[in-house]
Symmetry: C2
Subunit: 562 residues, 2 copies
Amino acid sequence: MPSPASPAAQPAADGHRPSAAAAPARVLILGGGFAGVAVAQELEKRVRRLSRLIDVTLVSKTNYLLFLPMLPEAASGSIELTHIMSPLRPLIPRTRVRIESVQSIDLTQQTVTTLQPSTRREQVLPWDYLVIALGNIVDLAGLAGVAQHGLPIKTIGDALHIRNRAIEMLDGAEAATDPDERRRLLTFVVAGGGFSGVELAAELNAFLRDAARAYHTILAQDIRLVLLHSGERLLPELSAGLARFAQRQLQRQGIELKLRTRLAAATAQEVILQDGERLGANTLVVAVGAGTNPVLRSLEAAKDRGRLKVDRTLLLVGQTRVWALGDCAAVPDPKAKQDDQYVPPTAQFALREGRTVARNIVATLEGRPPQPFTFAGLGQLVSLGQHTAVAELLGRIKVSGLLAWLLWRGFYLSRLPGLERKLRVWIDWTLDLFSRRDLAQLNVQRTERVTLAHYEPGQVIIRQGDPADAFFVIMRGEVQVVREQPDGTELEVDRMHQGDSFGEVGLLQHRRRNATIRAVDAVDVIALGSTDFGLLAESWQGLANLLAHTASERTPQRPLVS
Amino acid sequence: MPSPASPAAQPAADGHRPSAAAAPARVLILGGGFAGVAVAQELEKRVRRLSRLIDVTLVSKTNYLLFLPMLPEAASGSIELTHIMSPLRPLIPRTRVRIESVQSIDLTQQTVTTLQPSTRREQVLPWDYLVIALGNIVDLAGLAGVAQHGLPIKTIGDALHIRNRAIEMLDGAEAATDPDERRRLLTFVVAGGGFSGVELAAELNAFLRDAARAYHTILAQDIRLVLLHSGERLLPELSAGLARFAQRQLQRQGIELKLRTRLAAATAQEVILQDGERLGANTLVVAVGAGTNPVLRSLEAAKDRGRLKVDRTLLLVGQTRVWALGDCAAVPDPKAKQDDQYVPPTAQFALREGRTVARNIVATLEGRPPQPFTFAGLGQLVSLGQHTAVAELLGRIKVSGLLAWLLWRGFYLSRLPGLERKLRVWIDWTLDLFSRRDLAQLNVQRTERVTLAHYEPGQVIIRQGDPADAFFVIMRGEVQVVREQPDGTELEVDRMHQGDSFGEVGLLQHRRRNATIRAVDAVDVIALGSTDFGLLAESWQGLANLLAHTASERTPQRPLVS
């Protein structure tokens, strides 16, 4: 119902919402990372005295702001995981926070559809001003097996998985009897020599070498950590001199660098490089492969390599009420003449972009023109672990070693939201100086689930005599079924292909595998764990019939593979 | 190779290992809880000067000792999760630690078979002396839907799930528009009024009421927490007066007590009591249902209600080299005349039992007779949250309120292993006094997996018009398929039963549900999430055929249910 509004509550007179001039303008922010939160914080600050002017909603998949630059330290256990997670609601108390995932954006209808995780209900949220800050995703398509076997470093769960994997490998190596297996368990490959790859490699290396001291049979020199990078030198964001310093530091810490090297594929036990080299390693961490959020992929808007194109005021190209910023946007570099040079996708830029967007929303509301983004960057800092770092400040000053490391700590500490969190991280760091690495494995996942696995030619998928623990469906490739003969030789008894399945008999009868299945070419499979498979096979009449039918087709020449 | 052994390294001359008299005796400890770790610690202390005498191996499923009495505080976020996990290797540095799960125990062959999680390999471990300290498991069989929808409180993952669930419910309620749904989201039921149920209820209640302050629309009085207990009064372990004090405290904090009440069943949205009452609640925490570890279920040994019977020296009845202790053993109460009264399954007893077992192993090795277990207990302490507790010490002294709470904190702090961990927990507690609850949701699970769900008669399983997100198989019961007619009425078009499946068409075609499926009687289903189901259906030729066949059987009268 329209009512006489105060002048301050009057939105810009652009005829857009004529029938509800007094209703507050609905600002919808998509994304709860640095960029989205910075917009909400700045809006809260700017419109404190004008609370009826706008109604701000922020949609985030997680209920916390993740302090992404500290993720490598959290992965290695130097900082508690929860200390780099800052709950959203206390950060932006006057903003409506919705913990939902964005399904689609409609620029014409001015709505966004979200899905609520607990009720699985869809919501349609209308907006007058839209801010897109959805970040990017990890996209490893095109690298066979890497999505299945590589560990990305992007979320808090990723950090936890890397840490748990490292401990699991040490525990496995301590008990291993086969020297090849032990070597694979103790080899860790990190792909990607940019900021996050370098920091993760340094932290993981320090963690492993320190943690090994708690084991009876593992020596520091048994641990191999390989850092892969496609370029001529690490850290292309930094000058050549500082990058060389970083390389020397990492090598001194025992990290093996492989430059001009690209990842090609991965299996559960191998990392395969584009030049054909194979590294026996059970652990691959991938700090490469930034991809476009699927919601943005289907959005009709100008893009540059998947990122939304915005003008210098951060307005989406062709729009007057839609802004985009952060990692999902191609933000023109204020220092560059042309619009085709972009600022780097880092937290310091996301924060400044957020303030610009908030100011421009208020300007638009008040009928003033939006202002361009002008921040030129403060510099770059990379932690190399073990009390050293490299930094390049204001484009000129170069610092390395302990001073840079102290700068790094101080800078990030100052960026952490809230005094309490600063204090907790400072305590973590302080206690860390005096204590050994915490080896506890915070393992909260069910071990069974539907998983995907990739095998290279010749690799064994199941081995005769092993206990049956999964059912397999072939997605791609060919496998051979071989039986070990009493005289120790092998006899091929069958081949199977895409769409075929195997492993059900052993599971249902709790038997050991009666044959070995080996990949003939590159093979991708779906694996269903024994509990899940057993449940389905016992309860689902159709599946039981299907399995019985498959069994009846098998002959002594085409045996049942258990 | 036998060699002249020093007298100290000579095992007891019982003719058991005559050919390897000089080899150290192999002590195998199963279980990494308080009991198992106490045995290893005491053995390390006692045989420091006799390292060639014994060779101790401990097998544990987790690589840390979980400080179980603090689990409710970790669930509510008062203490960091990792601070109640103490890595095993630094605790027992001279013991071989194997992170493996026990598959079976062979008392005749003197071996134990374990499974290594990372390599999925079986190991056969021989032993001369066996210590069984495998604890118990949560067994909710017999309570329909409780295993599927109840959250146990037993592991670190359980604590994390409860905390995440609580935050998810608050986030969901803040966005909810249906008042019934909002009420269900904000109702929390805890079943079990023993120590862990009471402590969990108090902690969860304090957490929820404090956390609600960060939400715009949730008031403390909107939150309902119900504690169910089958007995006449809570805390049967304590005297009536102290239990009454505890009850009053909990009620003052806003907790609703339901005594003489037993849990009967649960669905995703309801908790059903044995008297037929139904509580609309999305969250049920179960602190009931201690069950026998499956490995012990198949062990040929005397048992009392699933627990292994031991004599007063903690030797397994009928054995001379096999001990059992902790929660998996029925340990005769030293104060009781008869052997059929047992000590309570608490940490303080497990610790003392561990020392007795270690001393008795050394005695047996040295040819001395084993000594009986004599510890009578120090008392009981229960934290009630909000700076209050009740305690009963040495069977006589009763304390309640703030003093008991300080005692509780001091006692547990003193029990935490290691100075660093004490310091970290003390810092957690101190910061906790000055700060609000941390709302960050440490969510690391994949959201999709094969899950089980239980529905009571009349409940809707899928609703016409909702987006399709799972495929279902009926394990038990009958469902009706109804179509909403254009005039708003419902028309039953089909019934389905055990072994039938539904929901595939909507998933495969990314459509909305074209019918509602409702439980006719009590129904159990298996749900397979859309991604997992899509993978299987796309790749597995047999499944694709099966689904096509099912589709061809459906007629306008028996429609495809998407």
